[in-house]
């Protein structure tokens, strides 16, 4: 199984480097630009008080607010997009392309195949995030003397790294949807809806009192992109909830992959039935 795991890592190598550098570029630019934008931020605050910006979790009054509105708000969202792409591409994509047939035909239990691929996906998400977080932290080191903040580079690094359980939950949900849906396209569409609904729903529910009750159903609720979280760190309990969601979704992926008729492209309830006499034989 080690060779399969290595192959899974190898197949993601370019994506890890590409997404890592791409995602790194984003916080590096935002953190690096802050000293030159700091004076203008205060004048934006009136606009930022508008509901639409609050819904998106944007507030620029301080370095922490600026970081929360840009870097810690959007880096997890972008990483979740990779989670959707790779999570649905891992089993569903390989099934669509036909590559899975040779692997599944080997004397390996299906649960092991799912486990190896889930591990590779998890490591890929962690490495991409680590590259981006390191980029953000190093940029903060570089501009540290120009910024008034209590956020340390290491604090920023770990705060971004704490988005891994969120990305993992999305990745595993995508993996599970890939074992459940008729095609990768359908799985990707459903997973994208989950991510966007969760992102916007979490922000809206945090803003509208009547929606507070449903806030906990949104995954993004459990990763706090706020100035307070940047200063105080993420809540361990929330991260454990996300890991539990990832674990349950992984279990779902194992279960549905175990019973899946590969190469057919059907929902689980569309399993074949021998037609009765009324169906014309």
């Amino acid at each position: 199984m080690l060779r399969l795991l290595l192959q899974e890592f190898r197949s993601r190598r370019n994506a890890i480097i590409g997404w890592g550098i791409g995602l790194c570029f984003f916080p590096v630019v935002y953190v690096g630009l802050y000293p030159s934008l700091a004076d203008q931020m205060a004048s934006f605050q009136e606009i930022m008080d508008l509901a639409i910006y609050q819904a998106l979790g944007i507030s620029m009054a301080s370095f922490e607010g600026y970081m929360a509105s840009t870097v810690t708000n959007l880096v997890p969202l972008i990483l979740c997009i990779y989670g959707v792409i790779n999570g649905t591409g891992t089993l569903a994509g390989e099934e669509d392309s036909g590559r899975l047939e040779l692997i599944v035909a080997l004397p390996i239990p299906r649960w092991q195949i799912v486990t190896v691929k889930a591990m590779a996906l998890g490591v890929a998400l962690l490495l991409i995030l680590a590259i981006a977080a390191a980029g953000a932290a190093l940029t903060l080191v570089a501009i540290g003397n120009q910024v008034e903040t209590t956020v340390t580079p290491l604090g920023l690094f770990f705060n971004l790294l704490a988005a891994w359980p969120l990305a993992m939950a999305v990745g595993m949900i995508s993996l599970w949807l890939g074992t459940f849906s008729p095609s990768r396209r359908t799985a990707a569409m459903l997973a994208t809806v989950v991510v966007l609904a969760s992102y916007l729903g979490s922000n809206l529910a945090g803003m509208i009192t009547s929606l507070e009750g449903i806030q906990k159903i949104f995954l993004f609720h459990y990763y706090e992109a706020s100035a307070e979280a940047l200063k105080g760190g993420q809540q361990t309990g929330n991260l454990l909830v996300l890991l539990a969601v990832a674990l349950v979704a992984f279990g779902g992926a194992v279960l549905f992959f175990q019973i899946r008729d590969l190469t057919i492209g059907a929902w689980p309830w569309q399993r074949g039935k021998i037609p009765g006499p009324e169906a014309g034989g």
Partner: protein, 302 residues
């Protein structure tokens, strides 16, 4: 000990309400080469995928070496080499890397260097990336992957697809050698002369149902006969009008007949007309196959 390498009982697969295969009862004996024939969509690939537990049957059961292909799927697939009909590989990998990975994932590892020998025989460059290979060379990769572990059972779905005639011949040699070493081979093909050349028995599947399972020589000698008679005089036009007999050609005093039944009556009638010459014309498997899928009549019943 299981008596058969492959055994299916009432095997049916439906895709939703669409028929894949229906009530397939098949027995492939250990050590034989079994050809599985049928046109596209007849159910050949579906049957092979059920054996490999890629899809699950709607009804019935399948066993390989006595092990249930679904309930004991991992054990059943052990010692089985499989070549899918729609081969898709990891394009970013080098051929050598793919073989090393694929070999390491087998449970019973025989002869780690066998894939090198096979690659040399098929003239496959293992240092190249799979994505750079032609369709034929990718097919060679699939062939090597199926044979690399010297399996006890080879399940090959159209193994010579996309290969040039010389390589096709090499693949058929590999089939014969594997069989000579004791392996059972279950393969589907559209190239009937190669099936006839290597198979002990064939199964013909039509619209999801197994309509015939016979030894190749029985199929080609007993199914119907083609006989050319030479007569002392020109035979009358209505000399052979009985059911099951078709006049294929007339050449003066000669007559070529295709006889599906009542051979003794045909011989009696011919003798009465005065036979001067008689010649049995060999019937190829291809012609038998075409008879099963006869033009416009939906095929013959088995």
């Amino acid at each position: 000990m299981a008596d058969y390498a492959i055994e299916t009982h009432g095997l049916s697969v439906y895709y939703g309400r669409h028929r894949g295969i229906l009530d397939v009862n098949l027995r492939v004996e250990k050590g034989e080469v079994f050809g599985f024939l049928g046109p596209n969509g007849a159910g050949k690939t579906t049957t092979q995928r059920v054996l490999m537990d890629i899809i699950r049957p709607t009804a019935g059961e399948a066993r390989m070496f006595g092990r249930d292909c679904q309930k004991e799927s991992v054990a059943a697939r052990d010692r089985v080499g499989y070549l899918p009909g729609e081969l898709s590989l990891y394009d970013s990998m080098k051929v050598r890397e793919f073989f090393e990975m694929y070999f390491s994932l087998q449970r019973s590892n025989n002869d780690p260097g066998h894939w090198r020998t096979l690659s040399e025989r098929l003239q496959l460059d293992t240092s190249r990336r799979i994505g750079q290979l032609s369709r034929g060379n990718k097919q060679k990769v699939g062939v090597v992957a199926a044979f690399m572990n010297k399996p006890d059972l080879l399940i090959l779905d159209e193994p010579t697809t996309g290969l040039d005639p010389l390589v096709q011949q090499t693949v058929m040699e590999l089939v014969r050698e594997a069989n000579g070493a004791g392996a059972t081979v279950f393969f589907s093909s559209h190239i009937l002369p190669e099936v006839q050349a290597v198979c002990d028995r064939v199964g013909i599947i039509r619209e999801g149902q197994l309509v015939a399972t016979e030894r190749v020589e029985d199929l080609t000698t007993q199914h119907f006969k083609r006989i050319r008679f030479g007569f002392a005089t020109v035979p009358p036009d209505n000399a052979f009008t009985q059911d099951g007999v078709t006049v294929l050609a007339r050449d003066g005093q000669g007559l070529t007949l295709e006889i599906h039944k009542d051979l003794d009556q045909v011989m009696e009638r011919a003798a009465a007309l005065g036979i001067t010459d008689i010649e049995t014309i060999p019937v190829s498997l291809e012609e038998i196959f075409l008879a099963y899928y006869g033009k416009g009549n939906g095929g013959r019943d088995a």
